[in-house]
């Protein structure tokens, strides 16, 4: 098991090298020259040339890449061209917001998705099944920015129940411990801040989690249907077990493996930042920030974020794989049995 985990963690290295090469090349080939953006409307040709020189943008691309990797290995991801602030600091200021939103969204998506999927499978062809399927269909098809705006108009504009955006009322902001406002509020015993942060996260989490929820619903329904048709379920029923036990203990646990994979993948994707949701709800995460930086050709920031997302994705997948072992004891992570 330990060997497997170490091996998987080591796999991050080639993934990172691959990702960094791709991002580095793409940004160098397709992004416009950052000099006019950074230096503004009065920049002369000489000033722009001098700036490119000091930033090392005139060096051969291979040398630039090697220097970048050297820096990255020692934890120096460079400095933002635009804000002149270290990349790690810029990302650290925004990543907790993205994680907090992704966690809230995936909790919503998993709870609702699994519940709807199970109900739809157990009550197959009933109104519940139709309802669940419809929600899944709507969740997959609906454009997120539109849904977000609708939510804001209804819950904020019409009902005045929830705020239109942001993470918290800044005057209630808790003392920073972890950077996750809800957690910080709990740790510092600040109930008012917790409530306010919760009110702020509801709509973005629902909007962001809608797509994942739909996918999880579909996956749960189909695997549950599959499992419910198996012989051992019939045997369990024949033994006289209650329907709750049959579904909850025997069928659900066995149908969860593919669902956990999907949840893991969805969570990884959510951690990559959600451009549209973050934009609509003014959520200060890395999604919107990445796009802003691409538009400004702020190469160091974009590279930093993409590397971070790659690491997170690999680690999330690893966690999902490890949960398999818990759900299905037949899976053993010895190198021999693998594959």
């Amino acid at each position: 098991m330990l060997k497997y985990v170490i091996k998987r963690i080591l796999m991050v290295v080639p993934v990172m090298i691959g990702v960094s090469i791709i991002v580095f090349s793409l940004m160098r080939v397709f992004s416009p020259d950052p000099a006019p953006v950074v230096l503004g409307q009065h920049a002369t040709q000489e000033q722009m040339a001098a700036w490119r020189e000091t930033q090392g943008l005139n060096e051969p691309i291979l040398k630039q890449y090697v220097l970048y990797v050297k820096g990255a290995v020692t934890g120096d991801l460079g400095t933002s061209y635009y804000t002149q602030t270290p990349v790690s600091k810029e990302i650290a200021a925004r990543f907790p917001a993205t994680i907090e939103l992704a966690v809230a969204a995936i909790i919503f998506a998993s709870l609702v998705g699994v519940t709807l999927g199970v109900v739809a499978a157990v009550k197959k062809n009933s109104i519940f099944d139709a309802g669940g399927t419809l929600i899944a269909l709507v969740g997959v098809s609906i454009p997120i920015f539109w849904l977000g705006i609708l939510f804001i108009m209804f819950f904020s504009g019409y009902l005045h129940l929830l705020p239109t955006g942001g993470r918290i009322n800044v005057l209630l902001e808790p003392v920073h411990v972890t950077g996750f406002y809800m957690l910080d509020a709990l740790l510092t015993g600040n109930r008012e801040a917790f409530d306010d942060a919760l009110l702020h996260i509801i709509l973005p989490a629902l909007t962001l989690g809608m797509y994942s929820m739909a996918i999880i619903t579909r996956m749960t329904r189909s695997t549950m249907l599959d499992v419910l048709g198996q012989d051992y379920v019939r045997t369990a029923r024949a033994k006289g077990l209650s329907e709750l036990k049959v579904v909850g203990k025997h069928a659900l646990r066995n149908s969860m493996i593919p669902v956990v994979t999907v949840i893991g993948l969805q969570f990884g994707a959510l951690l990559g930042g959600a451009l549209l949701t973050e934009s609509v709800f003014s959520w200060p995460g890395i999604g919107k920030f990445t796009v802003d930086c691409i538009l400004k050709s702020d190469l160091p920031i974009v590279q930093g974020i993409v590397l971070l997302v790659a690491v997170v994705f690999v680690l999330v997948n690893l966690c999902a794989d490890l949960i398999y072992a818990f759900l299905d004891p037949r899976i053993k992570y010895s190198s021999k049995k693998e594959g």
């Binding site: 416009p32 503004g40 000033q47 602030t85 929830l162 009322n169 919760l198 009110l199 629902l206 609509v280």
Partner: protein, 527 residues
């Protein structure tokens, strides 16, 4: 259909119940405290202004964007400042000044008893420190306005604690306006800069202004609090929060919902919604110009007659009305109407399609090549391509076929530099409110600024002389003369000046939304 709707009901009911349950739960617990619905900044001691993007930074020497400028002008002050409703220069940290007869020496008498937010003294040394950091050898690549504001400064001398003398390399009357700008010129605490270790206070601003910096949650908000030791009239509202709301519709919803008190970055599509929410609109002329330039180095357009004939084909009133829906005003001059040097008597080429057609046929002009930008710009919300397409339509009516090449903004700048065009679209956002800032563009040698590539010795002399003339009627008349000179030669076709727009909650008063785009909030109050 009915059955489909019926199927939707449980879906919607489930969703609604989840949201209501969650919000109800939080609301319920929140009511145990005093501030049951504290999601709104309705407290009268807090004013929230929502803007579309994060500031680039809060060190005036290291930024060039309006988002930074809006925060900076409430934290810092310069030696001079603009009048509330124009770009006339008034005293600020300097109580008075004298200019030597040759226009090369400026002696400023500084206000005494002024302290920076860190408690250190504002004095002549601080002024010298701030200007010196933007001059060689200390200036670095990341000071976008250092050369613009202080490029003509030869030396800064401390005469005594409250007197500073600035020597210029050449007469430059616009220097006083430069000192009033919201970027580059505001005075930063030297102690704070030294403490920073990297000559930068991008995230730790310390000035002398009516507000002090509290914190900046990146991508979220910048929080300021009243400076109770301010030398002038104290700010009326205790807390000022700049909230970052990128999405235009979301910004309007936040205003309508009472979460923010004022927003900017408004376009025509949201005005009705703003009014429906019972809010007030603020509209003022903007310090910008949206124009088309003829490439005066091409065979087609080196003669004024050809340029005039093309300009005659454009119905500017109709164009501006249809493209900008009343949110830009027609430009009859290059200078916006509130700027010194503006003269209502300047006549641009008038619309006359028939005369244009005859003249173009006589000149044998059948084809022209235009380049433009694909995106909206602050002076042209409709995008460069929409504008170029409209001009193409007018030209077609007078028998000229126009081809358009469209590029993204940065690529476009490269194309402009390369110079392969007959006509190109551009604009200018004023920096310092001085007429030289606009009219010097046609005398500049850099083709990225002077895209008409206009090279006229007489005009250059006129500009040079006006720049050296002290502020006053004589100088203004000289700039009016410059305007007339280029209008007669139809070097540019100025289309429009985009208006400055903002919206605010009823009961809000006392803000100054300046023509330069800065927002001064020390006088703001809420009822």
């Amino acid at each position: 259909m009915n059955s489909k709707v019926r199927r939707l009901v449980p879906a919607f009911a489930l969703l609604l119940s989840i949201v209501l349950a969650l919000s109800g739960c939080a609301q319920k617990t929140a009511t145990t405290g005093d501030k049951a619905t504290d999601t709104k900044s309705t407290a009268s001691d807090t004013f929230t202004f929502a803007q579309g993007a994060d500031p680039r930074g809060l060190d005036p020497a290291r930024v060039d964007d309006l988002e930074s400028g809006k925060v900076i002008v409430n934290l810092y002050e310069g030696l001079t400042k603009y009048a509330a409703d124009s770009t006339d220069v008034e005293p600020c940290l300097a109580e008075s000044w004298e200019v030597s007869d040759d226009g090369l020496k400026y002696t400023f008498k500084l206000r005494q008893g002024v302290k920076f937010h860190d408690g250190t003294e504002f004095n002549a040394d601080a002024v010298k420190f701030n200007i010196d950091r933007q001059l060689p050898p200390k200036v670095d690549d990341n000071m976008p306005y250092a050369s613009f504001c202080f490029g003509t400064v030869k030396e800064v001398k401390v005469v005594d604690a409250s007197t500073v003398e600035i020597e210029l390399t050449q007469p430059n009357t616009a220097f006083l306006a430069n000192l009033a700008m919201g970027i580059a010129s505001p005075i930063v605490s030297p102690a704070a800069l030294e403490k920073s270790g990297n000559n930068s206070v991008m995230e730790t601003p310390v000035g002398t202004g009516p507000y002090k910096f509290v914190k900046w949650n990146k991508g979220e908000n910048v929080v300021l609090v009243r400076n109770d030791d301010y030398w002038g009239e104290k700010a009326k509202t205790k807390n000022v929060i700049f909230r970052i709301i990128a999405d235009n519709s979301a910004r309007v919803l936040a205003l309508n919902n009472g979460e923010v008190d004022m927003i900017d970055g408004i376009d025509a599509t949201v005005v009705d919604k703003i009014k429906e929410g019972g809010n007030e609109l603020y509209e003022a002329p903007g310090m910008n110009v949206n124009y088309m330039a003829f490439n005066t180095t091409t065979k087609t357009f080196k003669d004024a007659a050809a340029r005039k004939a093309v300009a005659q084909s454009i119905n500017k009133e109709e164009l501006v009305k249809s493209l900008y829906q009343g949110y830009s005003e027609v430009a009859n001059t290059i200078l916006p109407t509130f700027m010194p040097g503006y003269d209502a008597g300047v006549q641009q080429v008038a619309y006359d399609a028939a005369a244009s057609k005859a003249e173009l046929a006589k000149l044998g002009i059948k084809k022209v090549h235009m380049i433009t930008y694909s995106n909206p710009r602050p002076y042209n919300a409709a995008t460069g391509s929409a504008l170029a397409t409209a001009i193409q339509g007018y030209l077609q009516k007078v028998g000229v076929e126009a081809t358009i090449d469209t590029y993204d903004w940065t690529t476009y700048k490269d194309k402009v530099k390369a110079g392969d065009y007959d006509m190109a679209f551009y604009g200018w956002i004023g920096d310092n409110g001085d007429p030289d800032n606009f009219l010097n563009l046609l005398a500049d040698k850099d083709p990225n600024l002077n895209i008409a590539r206009y090279d006229d010795a007489t005009y250059k002399d006129m500009i040079k002389k006006a720049l050296a003339t002290p502020n006053g009627d004589d100088r203004n008349a000289q700039y009016a003369g410059c305007e007339k000179y280029v209008a007669e030669r139809a070097v540019w076709v100025p289309f429009s000046h985009a208006k400055t727009q903002a919206a605010y909650r009823p009961g809000v008063s006392g803000f100054v939304y300046h023509v330069t785009g800065s927002v001064f909030l020390s006088g703001v109050e809420k009822k």
